[in-house]
């Protein structure tokens, strides 16, 4: 049989390509999980601007509650960078510039942050750094990063419609934003932003750990509001109706342990549950994701188009279950049809201590924690091409854009 030799060659090439492709996929996956363990020290240098204390210390002194609420990441990031080995005192060799301005620390008596002054505060800080140092004007902020952990990030509003109307603060268009909010194709999420988890107090969670051999007997667990009767009494606005749908469909289902109560054993109960619901609220992100990961409860994420924290380092698809908002009435079918091996696999991935560490902001910082993941994210953007440096005289940012109220000095 005369088979031309080139056939063999072609087959061999195809075979190797196939094998390599599979190998590359595996490598990619393992590459992804290896990224959590990357060490940013030595890969980047961060310069911390010295702002007057009215931007950070005085605000914190006025209200120390800012250290414990879920937006505390901005403060802890500042403290971490001040004593971190990636910090450099020489701005000429810095890759990234950090501006410590606590925009989410203007709290109501009940503890919720008011975002009305934040745009002016940010603008004032940027004006300061652009006039006192030459680095902002060099790149118009392209090598600067800011931590904006508020509901909709740098849109600085808690109501989604108003936030979309305002859009990201025009001065921050070129900077890298480190924020908790993440939703694809949304005005308030820039390309290249780094999504971080909301702050959850590590000691409080450690104090409520129960022995790991306590059998998990709750199938689905959720505690929180389903209807926000103060702001949205008829339902339909809050959580885009998803939480209300969960309640109406599953309040009689014994597999679903859902209620609006505030039990003192909330953390312990999470450790006794197999699945924990993490539906969106007024904003798509929630501290429940962090709590679920810490306590080994598989997060069931009900938020369309959400961008989860450190999505390039943590394989959320393999850890959690994603349910579209329109599929909420079929939630029990979806969850019970997951094969037990898949459930066990997800639990095994969740038990990985590096995953838990990556969600926390411990004091003092530990290797592999959320601070390091943020720095890893920043390091992955290096090296930059020189195009971000503006030619002399070139201006991209419009300093007078935005609502008139924002232009007032702070």
């Amino acid at each position: 049989m005369k088979v031309p030799i080139w056939v063999f060659v072609v087959v061999a090439v195809l075979a190797t390509a196939f094998v390599l492709r599979i190998g590359a996929e595996e490598l990619d996956q393992s590459h992804q999980t290896e990224r959590i363990a990357d060490d940013p020290v030595g890969r980047l240098k961060v310069f911390v601007y010295e702002l007057p204390s009215k931007y950070n210390k005085k605000i914190l002194q006025k209200d120390p509650r800012c250290l414990t609420h879920m937006f505390a990441a901005e403060i802890f990031m500042h403290w971490f960078l001040l004593s971190s080995p990636v910090r450099t005192l020489n701005p000429e060799e810095a890759d990234w510039f950090y501006t410590p301005v606590y925009t989410t620390c203007d709290l109501t008596p009940n503890g919720l942050p008011l975002p009305f002054k934040s745009p002016r505060m940010m603008r004032s800080a940027i004006q300061l750094i652009s006039s006192n140092w030459p680095f902002w004007n060099r790149t118009e902020g392209a090598d600067h990063f800011f931590v904006v952990p508020h509901d909709f990030g740098a849109c600085f509003h808690y109501q989604e419609e108003k936030a979309i109307e305002r859009g990201i603060l025009p001065l921050l268009q070129r900077a890298t934003l480190v924020q908790t909010f993440g939703q694809r194709n949304h005005v308030c999420l820039n390309e290249g932003s780094i999504t971080i988890p909301p702050y959850a107090p590590p000691q409080k969670m450690q104090a409520h750990l129960i022995p790991p051999d306590t059998p998990r007997s709750i199938f689905v667990y959720f505690r929180g509001l389903f209807y926000d009767v103060g702001n949205d009494p008829e339902g339909g606005y809050y959580a885009r109706g998803a939480r209300a749908s969960v309640w109406e469909n599953f309040k009689n289902n014994p597999l679903f342990d859902i209620s609006t109560e505030h039990p003192t054993t909330y953390y312990e109960d999470m450790q006794r549950a197999v699945f924990c619901l993490c539906p969106l609220g007024w904003a798509p992100w929630s501290p429940r994701l962090v709590e679920g990961v810490i306590f080994g409860c598989i997060p069931v994420i009900i938020a369309d188009d959400i961008v989860l924290p450190f999505a390039d380092a943590i394989p959320w698809e393999e850890i959690g279950v994603f349910v579209a908002e329109k599929d909420v009435p079929k939630l029990d079918t979806i969850l019970t049809s997951i094969p037990p091996e898949v459930v066990l696999r997800k639990q095994r991935l969740l038990a990985n201590p590096s995953m838990k560490q990556a969600m926390l902001f411990p004091q003092p910082a530990q290797p592999g924690d959320a601070f390091h993941q943020i720095l890893n994210g920043l390091a992955r953007k290096l090296p930059r091409d020189k195009s971000i440096h503006l030619k002399p005289g070139e201006k991209i940012l419009n300093w007078t854009a935005g609502p008139v109220g924002d232009l007032k000095p702070w």
Binding site: L112, N252, V274, S337
Partner: protein, 512 residues
């Protein structure tokens, strides 16, 4: 977001709504009063109409007004599903107010490459499926998932390489035997490890006990011990010790492998106990809760309580005592001094039954300790045959050891109490139907030897009181409603017709 935060959110948002915000530029102040008056009137009118109609029609109006010129049909999220409204059960079509977002879509028609959010801001329908109740097949699937998860948890965090257990129980036929053995049997049936149950029965093996053991489905070795159980507690404890040694001899002869645990039939065991004893290496000690129970309800307990108030009542626990570094330093025994005068001598005394200094139940052994010849037998254990031959007063397994410091304290160094010791018995001469099955009821029952009642039965009213204060006596009633009394010195034929009337069951006041 937490509840409080949400509530606060609403006050915050309400605040923001009320204050139009310093950022918004206000309308011409001249038109303000006219416009506001007009809106108030319109608002009032709409309220009245809504009251009459029974639902808020404003949304409907908006939809009808604006649906013609809306270009956002592609992004509409309308769901004509059953909706929960604040009014009752009116079927309102919930529709979406024209969303603010759709400023981009007209321009995007031409180039679908530029993305706009799939997710729309605004009011959405609440999706409820027509039958929002659990599906039984799915419930079963969920339970299977939970079971698999728990099995995996046990594999990962539970005991690795579990060893088989050998349970040694001395027993004898008596009224309360079924009660005690059933409880113990059920506990043992729940144990997830391999188990061999050695039951030593005083007075020889009996069919009733064997039938009971058969119901368990466990692997049992039923041994007869050729002496009858004596009637004093002292003698009974000693005999039980001998019975346990007999069982240990069987372990030795058959070279049974595993962990030997002494489960007396009166005791109660928790399931964690069986997990905990898997960690014993040679010999371990556990804390035993002592339930020194007094049968007499009225007098002695009140006296006792007064004493309790005066002195600190001793902790009713027997077990190993550790120092702060977790090493065994001694033994904590139950302080029986307050009860010594009132303690029971005979098995059926209505007084407090006291335990020994250290009960056998609080110890577990590796079965290799009683085997005859093994290579790595530790030096500090005495040979079983020698012990029995010496006829010492073996009060606890500690006598098996030369050196008692090698005992491993279990249960978090004795801090966790995983089993409880209790002795409750009926009168020694009490009769009960064998196998607890009523054959044709006996006409005449043999009068109890130590009955305080006269032998000749006087006339009795139909509602009879039978003494049962000390013993919790089961009154098994047959299907015909007749009751056969366990201890009853009088019965007549005409009683039977009366018995049919009076359904006597349960506990009655003491009759004197």
């Amino acid at each position: 977001m937490k509840l409080s935060q949400q509530q606060n959110c609403n006050t915050r948002r309400n605040n923001s709504f009320r204050t139009t915000g310093p950022l918004d530029s206000s309308v011409d102040s001249a038109f303000k009063p006219l416009a506001s008056f007009f809106w108030v009137v319109l608002h009032g009118l709409c309220c009245l109409i809504s009251l009459v109609l029974g639902f808020r029609f404003s949304r409907l109006i908006f939809f009808l007004l604006f649906s013609t010129n809306t270009t956002s049909t592609t992004n509409h999220y309308t769901v004509p599903a059953l909706l929960r409204t604040t009014s009752d059960a009116t079927q309102t079509l919930t529709l979406q107010t024209p969303p603010v977002l759709i400023t981009d879509t007209p321009s995007n028609r031409t180039n679908p490459a530029t993305t706009s959010s799939r997710v729309v801001v605004g009011r959405h329908g609440i999706l409820i499926r027509p039958w929002p109740h659990p599906n039984p097949i799915e419930v079963m699937k969920a339970h299977r998932i939970i079971e698999r998860v728990q099995r995996e948890q046990r594999l990962q965090y539970g005991v690795k390489n579990p060893r088989p257990l050998i349970i040694v129980t001395p027993t004898y036929i008596r009224t309360f035997q079924t009660l005690h053995l059933t409880g113990l049997m059920h506990s043992l049936m729940l144990v997830p490890y391999d188990l061999t149950w050695i039951v030593v029965e005083a007075g020889g093996t009996t069919k009733e006990t064997a039938a009971l053991l058969e119901k368990s489905g466990l692997r049992t070795i039923h041994i007869g011990f050729e002496e009858r159980m004596p009637i004093t507690w002292e003698a009974r404890h000693r005999m039980e010790t001998r019975m346990r040694l007999r069982a240990l001899r069987v372990v030795r002869e058959q070279r049974l492998d595993g962990i030997v645990m002494f489960a007396d039939d009166g005791n109660t065991h928790s399931m964690e106990l069986f997990d905990e004893i898997q960690s014993v290496k040679w010999i371990g000690a556990l804390s035993v809760g002592i339930l020194a129970h007094s049968g007499n309800s009225d007098e002695s307990s009140s006296l006792l309580q007064k004493q309790e108030d005066e002195e600190n009542l001793p902790l009713p626990v027997q077990g190993p005592a550790c120092n702060s570094s977790g090493q065994l330093v001694g033994w904590h025994t139950f302080n029986s001094l307050p009860y010594v005068e009132k303690s029971a001598t005979y098995i059926d005394d209505r007084a407090i039954v006291l335990p020994r200094k250290l009960e056998w139940a609080g110890f577990v052994l590796n079965s290799k300790l009683v085997w005859k010849d093994i290579e790595d037998k530790p030096e500090w254990v005495k040979d079983l045959d020698k012990l029995v031959a010496d006829e010492e007063d073996l009060d606890s397994p500690l006598s098996l050891l030369e050196d008692t410091s090698v005992v491993e304290p279990l249960g978090n160094c004795g801090r966790k109490i995983l089993l409880w010791w209790l002795r409750v018995e009926a009168r020694a001469d009490s009769k009960f139907p064998p196998g607890w099955i009523i054959d044709p009821p006996l006409d005449i029952t043999v009068p109890a030897k130590r009955t305080p009642w006269p032998d000749a039965p006087p006339e009795l009213p139909s509602n009879e009181n039978v003494s049962g204060a000390q013993e919790r006596r089961e009154k098994p009633s047959s299907k015909t409603g007749r009751v056969s009394r366990a201890r009853h010195s009088r019965s007549k034929r005409r009683r039977e017709s009366r018995i049919a009337d009076s359904q006597v069951s349960g506990r009655h006041a003491e009759e004197k």
